[in-house]
Amino acid sequence: MAISLTSFLLPICLFISLARTATLTYDFDVAWTHANPDGQYNRPVIGINGQWPIPSIVATKGDQVIVNVKNSLRNESTSLHFHGLYMNGTTHMDGPVAVTQCGILPGSSFTYNFTIDQPGTYWYHSHVRGQYPDGLRGPLIVKDPENPFKGQYDEEVVLTFSDWYHESMPKLMSGFISIANPSGAEPVPQAALVNDTQNLSVKIEPGKTYMFRMINIGAFAAQYVWFEDHTMRIVEVDGIYTEPMDAEMLYVTAAQRYSVLVTAKNDTSSNFAFVGSMDEDLFDVFPDGLNPNVTGWLVYDDTKAKPEAKLIDSFDSQFDDFTLVPYDKESIYSNVDQSITLDMKMDNLNDGANYAFFNDITYVAPKVPTLYTTLSTSANATNPLIYGYNTNPFVLSQNQVVEIILNNDDPGKHPFHLHGHAFQVIARSEEEAGAFDPNNATQIAFAATPIRRDTVLVRPNGHIVLRFQSNNPGIWLFHCHLEWHMASGLAITLIEAPLTLQSQLSGKIPQDHWDVCKAGDVPVVGNAAGNTVDVLDLTGENKSPGELPAGFTGRGIVALVFSCLSAFVGMAVIGWYGLKPIEKKTK
């Protein structure tokens, strides 16, 4: 008789919950515009739809996102990478050129279509060599209706921190990788920005708690971040919720994110500064007049003055993210199925320029994007040889525990990022600790519930150990997120579960992806050299410059021998002349 309420309500509830996952469509027209964010220099920047800073992408967990990119740059290709999103089943939407797609040429269009199942703070940026610091980077926020900290804060505020250059990237890049820069000194930025400006005021109401989602969208400089007189409570890093921990100062490397809760004071008698201070340790020079800090203000009362940031004595109070514990308390992956050791170094090749190496190989993009090699080589896709020498490929089997041991043989601080996954940070050594030694008891005393994130710092001449599960078939780059080092080849390619990938994606790559390859004359079948007949034959693949000769080459020996010979001959003639008497001629 009367229809039961539940049987009536239930379908409605289901309908509502289904309806709550939306499809967001963004139409991005990428083109040059102008901007002067630090007030010092008006320069061309890459904007979207005529605006810069570019728009944020804001989604809710479960949403499908469609980004239609039109390249109106006229002089550069482009692509977009959604940093931190795992792209489950959609590795072809991940973004890095020559890895999962071809570059989107000027005039071409390309659609990214993926579903986001992970909440947190992310960002999106160009993944064409050296392009995003020219402005093509912005926040990507994924809201979570089931946020464990829901109710503990009143408002969300997004803060992006960045370094800023006055010169444009193509010029800086050609000066960086060049025979005239043999030590590989990275260009020093001219300014620091917060939310792409330098005089940010954040309106704060007394007694409220704010969640600051902080993202370092810079090219190079890590930033120390602190709020004067306010403590930060860390609740999320790189999309992973953490057990709340208090911090006075954060060290945020390029590409890392932190969400922190900050409780406002109860009175409005003054405003407070917060600071992003660039880490100058990697700066080659310290030009006069460079201000490495950017100050913003928590404004309680906008009639009161905004105070200058106070000087601090040291950065010692920086928070060590290694001590964080993930909210889900996932325990350490203890049975490692595959372990990859990466020895990192910087060195010169025979074009005189400085390059970066993993296991003596510097990354050079292949002729055929790696994903398309996997899709077109059937059973051979599990053979790492076909992906080329300089792509530094590693094939992973599905659903295994994979470990990466990275030994940093360089006195620099490097932030390393893995596409497609968050990894457990098993170990991070102090500076100068040298390579990881599995027999050293202190080095293998791992935490039981290590923090997970997707971008992690390795200390100078130290090491890190990372573990993740290969449960996401795809082609994933692992690389240094300092844009200069990415360009000098500090990357490896992980080919995860290639056969599963074939069954997932064969025939499913959208036509516009193939169209941009056609427009650029990029081959899309075969091995890294484009060879479809014999995939083990890599003749013609893209290679790095050769090594410098380590001493006398043939030409040098010939030159030295010849020089000695001519010296002896010369002396013999002098001797003959000198000892020979002059015959007197009679006239």
Binding site: P182, S183, G575, K587
Partner: protein, 340 residues
């Protein structure tokens, strides 16, 4: 040990004084043996004075210039010398090489014409200035005559000037990291060692047959000149490289990046005569032009020079033997005041 004896400073001083003292001792020994007769004593003394005057004046001027450079460096924080270091070395090395080349040939030739030359030189020096003005020599010819007359002065002067300037600026301005107490002993030892070798050469030269001594020392002088020319070309080739790197190529050490691979014929990551005083490789560089990083220019110029010198002497020898230029023609071409 480094507190009282700075090795880099020792090697710099040793190198500089060695080159200078070799040239001085060869000239002095030559004079001593050539002008050994009693009646030539005044000429001999005059020429010896020329040699010493050259050395002393060269040193004095380089002290002045070097001192000025150091003052400018400290007052105005501008390392003038370092900026144009390479050009200075290149140009002066070339001039020095040219002078030694000409002088060497002259010395050898002259020894073969000892008798004729004695008369000539004596007459030349006794002639008063009336002769010079009356012949109306100006410009290039005048310079040539001047050069011939004061050759004994010019060669040591140029050498002392060049070597001394390098040494003074280095010691005065560059080696800031060393304790002051380590300088005196190193300087004295370096200069002393160089002078000692020169002295031994002088004594040895006097003791042996002049002809043999001359041939041996001329060979050595030509090796030095070849090295100087090679170095000169090397410096001029490396000036743009140094500038492109921002002026501190020497500070990048000997490894990759300290040299321009495009110009390199050989390179070894050691044995660098330019850094940290240079050590024994610096001496090797001064005497024979050794570079750990050779360029096409430096190698080719060295070889061409040896070939040119050899060819030049061959031609001279053959002409003497088979005519073309007789002795009298030679006499006629140079100092015109002699009448046989």
């Amino acid at each position: 040990m480094v507190q009282i004896f700075a090795a880099q400073v020792f090697f710099i001083c040793f190198r500089e004084s060695l080159e200078t003292s070799i040239i001085v001792s060869v000239l002095l020994s030559f004079l001593k043996q050539t002008l050994s007769r009693e009646d030539e004593k005044p000429v001999y003394r005059k020429l010896v004075r020329q040699v010493w005057l050259g050395v002393i004046l060269g040193l004095a001027i380089c002290l002045i210039i070097g001192g000025t450079m150091i003052v400018i460096f400290y007052r105005f924080q501008s390392d003038l010398f370092a900026k144009y270091d390479y050009i200075w070395e290149g140009v002066f090395g070339f001039i020095a090489s040219a002078i030694i080349t000409i002088m060497g040939a002259a010395l050898l030739r002259i020894s073969k014409l000892r008798d004729k030359w004695r008369v000539k030189i004596a007459a030349a020096l006794e002639a008063n200035s009336a002769d010079e003005t009356s012949s109306g020599d100006t410009g290039l010819k005048g310079l040539k005559l001047f050069g011939e007359k004061y050759a004994m002065f010019l060669l040591p002067f140029v050498t002392a000037l060049r070597e001394g300037l390098e040494g003074v600026v280095f010691i005065g301005g560059v080696s800031l990291g060393l304790p002051a107490a380590s300088f005196p002993l190193a300087v004295v030892c370096g200069l002393g060692a160089g002078a000692l070798i020169g002295f031994l050469l002088y004594r040895g030269g006097n003791a042996s047959s002049l002809q043999l001594f001359l041939v041996a020392s001329t060979c050595f002088l030509y090796l030095v000149a070849a090295g100087l020319l090679s170095r000169s070309v090397w410096f001029l080739e490396n000036y743009p490289w140094n500038t492109a790197l921002g002026g501190d190529a020497a500070e990048t050490g000997s490894g990759p990046g300290s040299y321009d691979i495009r110009q390199s014929v050989w390179h070894v990551n050691c044995c660098n005569p330019e850094i940290d005083g240079g050590g024994w490789w610096g001496v090797f560089n001064s005497l024979l032009g050794w570079q750990n990083s050779a360029t096409y220019g430096s190698v080719i110029s060295y070889n061409l020079y040896c070939v040119a010198v050899g060819a030049g002497f061959l031609v001279m020898g053959l002409r003497e033997k088979y005519g073309g230029w007789s002795v009298s023609r030679y006499k006629g071409k140079s100092n015109t005041r002699v009448v046989t």
